[in-house]
Symmetry: C2
């Protein structure tokens, strides 16, 4: 539930119970809200723009203490918020952390979490510039990130004929969750994908400069985030699941569950890769240039067409992807 553009107008979101709720809230708020529903808020600031986003991670909802160290909880919460800046093509500048801790928490615990948050900020070229600390019933980390973007990339610029691309590879975070759910330890690579996501700030800035029409980070799952992008742009998207790059850490879990790897990866949430719409002329040489700058793969996974919604296909047949809804406990 972030980001504005036109005053009082909420950005269209894709389907899902959480997004229905945000839509209803935004409608009820009317002129109090400057439009909610993009990755970030954008405020004009002289010849550039302030880009800001806030993200809350709650114990028992977004993470479990037995899965992650406090340093990892701090890193992950901060990286998740910074990922919203990446999807705007922004530079990260500052991070504020509002931390709620149980009464039993020791100073060392607070320092450990904040050190993880601070390391994620430093790694993104930003720093912790403020915060707040309160007692509360559980660990909860609300991270606000501030950055600058000359020409922020929204979700709304996709046009029929454009290509749909994804950075990196998907599925590692889900592989870790699936292992934990069945009482097993995830592989080190899967665990790292979940505990230590890397916001794609450098990639986002490069893509913005190279004419990205629309961008979103993959937090709700590729299908759900594609649906948000399609709704905001007023277009249809087609995703060919065979093309989705699958993290090697995800293949074993996908096989264990009997799910096609591309589908397993496309249903994985909190991946923090960038789903980006690029103009039709973006091609092989551009991909090589991206790789050398970002140190990441960039893969074409589908296309933009006239219409509405995001349609995934496997072997040419339509597939309905499961979402990753933060209000649906079964997904945790």
């Amino acid at each position: 539930m972030s980001g504005p553009r036109a005053a009082g107008v909420a950005m269209p979101l894709g389907p899902g119970a959480e997004f229905d709720r945000v839509r209803r809230i935004a409608a009820a708020l009317g002129p109090r809200a400057a439009g909610l529903g993009d990755d970030c808020a954008v405020l004009a600031a002289g010849d550039t723009n302030l880009v800001a986003s806030t993200d809350v991670s709650v114990e028992g909802v977004h993470f479990r203490r037995e899965w992650l160290s406090l340093g990892e909880i701090g890193w992950r919460a901060t990286a998740a918020a910074l990922s919203d800046l990446a999807a705007e093509g922004a530079d990260a500048a500052g991070v504020l952390v509002a931390l709620t801790v149980p009464a039993s928490a020791r100073d060392d615990d607070v320092v450990a979490l904040m050190t993880g948050a601070g390391d994620a900020a430093l790694d993104a070229g930003a720093r912790l510039v403020g915060g707040d600390l309160s007692a509360g019933p559980a660990w909860s980390v609300a991270v606000t990130v501030l950055g600058w973007a000359q020409a922020p990339v929204t979700r709304a610029g996709a046009r029929a004929g454009d290509g749909l691309w994804i950075t990196g590879a998907l599925g590692g975070a889900r592989a870790a969750l699936e292992a934990w759910r069945r009482g097993a330890e995830p592989s080190e690579a899967a665990r790292r994908a979940f505990a230590h996501p890397l916001p794609r700030l450098r990639a986002g800035r490069w893509l913005a400069r190279r004419g990205a029409r629309a961008m979103i980070d993959v937090s709700d799952g590729l299908g759900a985030d594609a649906a948000h992008l399609a709704a905001a742009s007023g277009v249809g998207l087609v995703i060919e699941l065979e093309r989705v790059p699958v993290a090697s850490a995800a293949r074993d879990e996908a096989a264990r569950l009997g799910i096609a790897p591309g589908r397993f990866a496309a249903e994985s949430g909190e991946e923090y890769e960038l789903l980006v719409v690029l103009p039709p002329h973006f091609e092989g040489d551009d991909v090589l240039a991206f790789r050398s700058v970002a140190g990441l793969e960039l893969t074409r996974v589908g296309a933009v067409r006239a219409g509405a919604g995001a349609q995934a296909t496997l072997g040419g047949a339509p597939v309905t992807l499961a979402g990753y809804d933060h209000f649906a406990p079964r997904n945790r």
Copy 2:
């Protein structure tokens, strides 16, 4: 735990368990933090400055559902954060709300809280520009405020010989809390002071333009906040409790408890008035001008001298004021 100035250097804070904790955290964070301890983070933005602060309010710690409506909870949390912008002399621009709600919360509940938050933003000349929504074990509202200030006022500029002033009148919020604690209903005026605080943005900007040397909002209690200001400025402060303006809503509760009204008022937290250090030449005509612009009283309550710490006096004798420590449940 907000705000920077010099890289990696924490602003000195006054005494108190919460502030000891923040000091230890800031020291442990080293270069990850750009200095924590002022009201706001300040980031240069062309010919002006971005000023940002984050504040978390938690059910059972900062408020109780039986005391306040959800709209009041949203207003109060947002006003508290906006008050940090007021203390910098900033213009408010945008508000982001990261909201955690129990699974039992209905859409109408979320809308009610966010409407209160949005009304507080609108009233300050700002708007809700982003947010996040999560399930969690209790209501928790993390509000981040963004504003602009050409010349932000810090806590650090007080000099010996300056005057110490306060906007408005204090004690109303405490009067409400004292009534609730003994199972009574507070007076309407006391209740309103607690539930519907008014951040002093217009007053803060006027005082900044008129040469305020240092400013802080009264959230921890006049004595504790004066101690923060004294520590940051490297000076001593003297507060004459007879001079502290007492809200009329506070007099009955002070009398009931047998506490001198000025002391009762000076020990009241979450008041959101501005404690401001003004140069020696600030005088009667300036107070009249302030009143007509801000619609508020401005009262000289003490002075700045060489030394350290904040010393309150009553009838010329030193008085140790109780603080208002968010980690001390006895104060709730």
